[in-house]
């Protein structure tokens, strides 16, 4: 079964440094999401793409976070500068046509020291 690929799997960075995460959705999935999940909590939506366009980034802290999906396929989420409170799991998900379920990658576990 096709999977959503994410890398790196783990990332440790010092505060004030820049960090980037990569996601490759299931082939043909036009909708892509980035979620942030703090330990013990549910995922919270950061940004939603439809093809290469941002549909919803209302919860993205735009002073330090940016996301792009230039060719409407893979996507990159960047944090600059990282803060201690950014320590979390960053999950990417993609969705096929209509209101179908989300397919999640295994996430990037970020630790900011």
């Amino acid at each position: 079964e096709a999977e959503v690929a994410q890398s790196p799997r783990y990332k440790i960075t010092e505060k004030s440094q820049a960090v980037a995460f990569w996601c490759d959705p299931i082939s043909g999935h036009a909708t892509l999401y980035w979620y942030r999940q703090i330990l013990g909590q549910g995922p919270e939506l950061l940004v939603q793409f439809q093809d290469e366009s941002v549909v919803d980034d209302s919860q993205l802290p735009k002073d330090r976070f940016s996301a792009e999906r230039l060719k409407g396929v893979d996507s990159t989420l960047k944090i600059q500068p990282a803060e201690l409170g950014d320590s979390a799991m960053y999950l990417c998900a993609s969705m096929g046509m209509g209101n179908s379920p989300l397919h999640f990658g295994n996430g990037t576990r970020l630790t900011v020291t």
Partner: protein, 111 residues
């Protein structure tokens, strides 16, 4: 903000027993979905129930939806050690919005 809220936050039962988790939400929905997350992994979709459906089954899973009470329940029958995971409900309001997840129920199945 989180639309759905699961109850209980944690549940520990013996293998073979049934596990029931509840989800309450605040606004009208298009559908409600349940996901499972094993420790350190991504979420896996379990079942989707539409707003005009009241009950749905998939293997050992049974989901109910009561739109008048804005609540849903997930029943796992004959639990197994491999069912140990966190379970999340997620609401779809329709339109272009993404899913909104609850805080989850952490289920532990004791052998």
């Amino acid at each position: 903000s989180q639309q759905g809220e699961e109850d209980p936050q944690a549940l520990s039962i013996q293998e073979g027993e049934n596990a029931t988790m509840n989800c309450s939400y605040k606004t009208s929905i298009n559908n409600l979905q349940w996901y499972r997350q094993n420790s350190g992994r991504g979420l896996v979709h379990l079942i989707l129930i539409r707003s005009n459906e009241r009950e749905k089954h998939s293997g050992r899973l049974r989901v109910t939806l009561d739109t008048s009470k804005k609540s849903s329940s997930l029943l796992i029958t004959a639990s197994r050690a491999a069912d140990t995971a966190s379970y999340f409900c997620a609401t779809d309001l329709g339109g272009a919005d993404g899913l909104t997840f609850g805080k989850g129920t952490h289920l532990i199945i004791q052998p």
